[in-house]
Symmetry: C2
Subunit: 363 residues, 2 copies
């Protein structure tokens, strides 16, 4: 039996009933055009086939799949936006191709196996929202062996950052307020500004060194269990002398094909890894290796901004680091017990003999 | 006995416990510099005198008053920010001058009459938040006859606006989404975008004609009773042919002196009105008349933006108006029964034989 639908789930689904959030996502061209390009790039595996769109929202990805020639698309969303998606499908005379289900992938019934799963499930810092679980459920319920999942992999990165302007604007500001010394505010200012993760846009210049891979998700093989808690140790060597203000998280996803395609061996197999990504968990990588020319949707600071931006965890006080100084520690991301849609972020880090712990909750 | 402190009040006070909101207000230079300039312009009525700062926040206005030579400043705030204000006062060695009270003006005890009340009480569209009631309470409890209130008057304006870009971006957008006709979304898009008042910045070019005065508040004489419901009829003549998208509200406040100053007649008297403002309620005014050279803090579309921006009430569908077309109707602002800190906005308007009603709640 599927997990029961909790009040937390209902609140989550309701948050997608408002159109503004869909407008924002659709207007994110990097996002929407990546999906459209990926769907048309894989047209040979979609045309004439059966697709399920997990968390279809307004139905735009389902319509792209119909345009790419899908025989049938099951568009599933537990939010009330599904009612609107159905209206859009009808108005576009696509009711014969696209079947909209207003419900959870755990609860709806699809009476056939599907060839393709498409889903835009990524939350802030990839795993926030925990929607990947719905993709796993859909995969395990309906995907044919050798079927396609878009995106095929997702990678979460971590890097140390410097951001003097941000620190100055929120913290140093209080040192001189129209000539008044309000430094007495500093402890509260640091707490208010930096207690919770902050979703904001930084640039490549804010990043002190190459990012670390916190987690690589293979959408063909990932399990619910391995998402409950994601943990890695890291070791950075700062490329410059700078105040180290905190850590940034971002992610990218690839729209690749499963290995051994075309395949009839009925084994569900892992995404083709690029050779130097074989040992990605915890590996610091300098440059994306992408021998398959898989399409990539990146939310990295050096790439054009998306609505995901980056997620920053700031320290209360910056740490002055020298060039080549080592920063090491560990990070653990886990579902909050308070609300499984929330995420606990536990960071431990040490540099130059000092050791720190920072606990945050993304609500 | 004062009104009891409700859960709504507690939620309201808590919303000011976070520093970010104070940072935003302080960084609004039009706001903070207007208050500082007003305090120093009225230095002759502040130096050596007793002041109460209603809703002191971080205490910045109290410190300006101390800098202007106040003998004593009572800084009152019901939010926990008062604890921080007290730290700032101590750190600046002003504890002998500024006494911070963490409580409501209804509840704290000040054992003397005060010469001056200073307060930054204005909410969105002036009356949202209902903080003016606390200024009235402070005035009636402590202000000496002939005492100074800063600001002295406040005026709420209403004007019809055109905003094709905003309409197009939120509504027409759905007509062509990456080549897909999503017009089926239009009813929901209009409801989501335009059901609630929208705080945003427009410019003078968005305004179809001169504004109407919805309410002029004389801080010396205003009563709690007259704020429970504010109502006026209006009549506009459009200065151009344009789609009429909705109404904008904004306000200004003046930092004037009470009449008959210097005065010993012990009657609390109204602010000096400029001659052509005698009949302001409902009067369309073309230009501020300000014979007293009172300092003005304006949040009008033609003035530099402030953190208050303007408050817009959009219609679901625009009304095409011709040049010289008359728009008439009425507006009523009243405290919400759901939460007295919320505001109901009831608009009736007619043009060219068509009649409309729009109800909104500012939450």
């Amino acid at each position: 039996a599927p997990n029961p639908c909790t009040d937390f789930d209902m609140a989550y689904f309701n948050s997608y009933a408002h159109l503004g959030i869909h407008e924002e996502m659709i207007k994110d061209r990097a996002r929407t055009e990546s999906y459209r390009n990926a769907i048309f790039q894989h047209q040979d595996r979609i045309a004439g086939k059966v697709v399920v769109d997990v968390g279809c929202g307004t139905g735009i990805l389902s319509i792209f799949c119909a345009q790419a020639g899908a025989k049938r698309v099951y568009a599933v969303d537990a939010s009330n936006i599904a009612v609107q998606a159905n209206e859009v499908v009808k108005a576009n005379n696509l009711s014969d191709t696209i079947i909209v289900f207003h419900g959870r992938v755990e609860d709806v019934e699809i009476d056939e196996e599907v060839d393709v799963i498409v889903s835009e499930w990524m939350g802030y810092m990839l795993l926030y929202e925990s929607m990947l679980g719905s993709v796993i459920t859909a995969r395990d319920r309906w995907l044919k062996p050798g079927g396609l999942i878009l995106p095929s992999t997702a990678t979460l990165y971590l890097a140390p950052v410097t951001h003097p302007d941000r620190y100055s604007e929120s913290i140093d500001f209080w040192r001189n307020v129209y000539g008044i010394d309000m430094s007495a505010m500093l402890p509260l200012a640091k707490q208010c500004a930096f207690e919770e993760p902050s979703v904001e846009t930084i640039t490549g210049e804010n990043v002190l060194t190459w990012p670390y891979v916190v987690k690589q998700v293979d959408c063909y093989t990932v399990t619910l269990h391995e998402l409950e808690s994601v943990s890695t140790r890291f070791k950075f060597t700062s490329m410059m002398r700078a105040p180290f203000h905190g850590f940034a998280f971002w992610f990218d996803v690839e729209f690749g094909i499963p290995v051994k395609y075309p395949s009839n061996n009925n084994t569900r197999t892992a995404f083709v890894e690029s050779p130097n990504n074989q040992n990605t968990d915890g590996t610091q990588r300098k440059k994306r290796a992408n021998p398959n020319d898989a399409l990539v949707l990146s939310t990295a600071p050096e790439d054009p901004p998306t609505h995901w931006q980056q997620t920053l965890i700031y320290f209360y006080d910056p740490i002055e680091v020298e060039q080549d100084q080592v920063i090491e520690g560990s990070v653990t991301l886990s579902q909050s017990k308070e609300n499984p849609r929330f995420m606990n972020i536990h960071l431990e880090y040490a540099s130059n003999g000092r050791y720190f712990v920072k606990e945050s909750v993304m609500r």
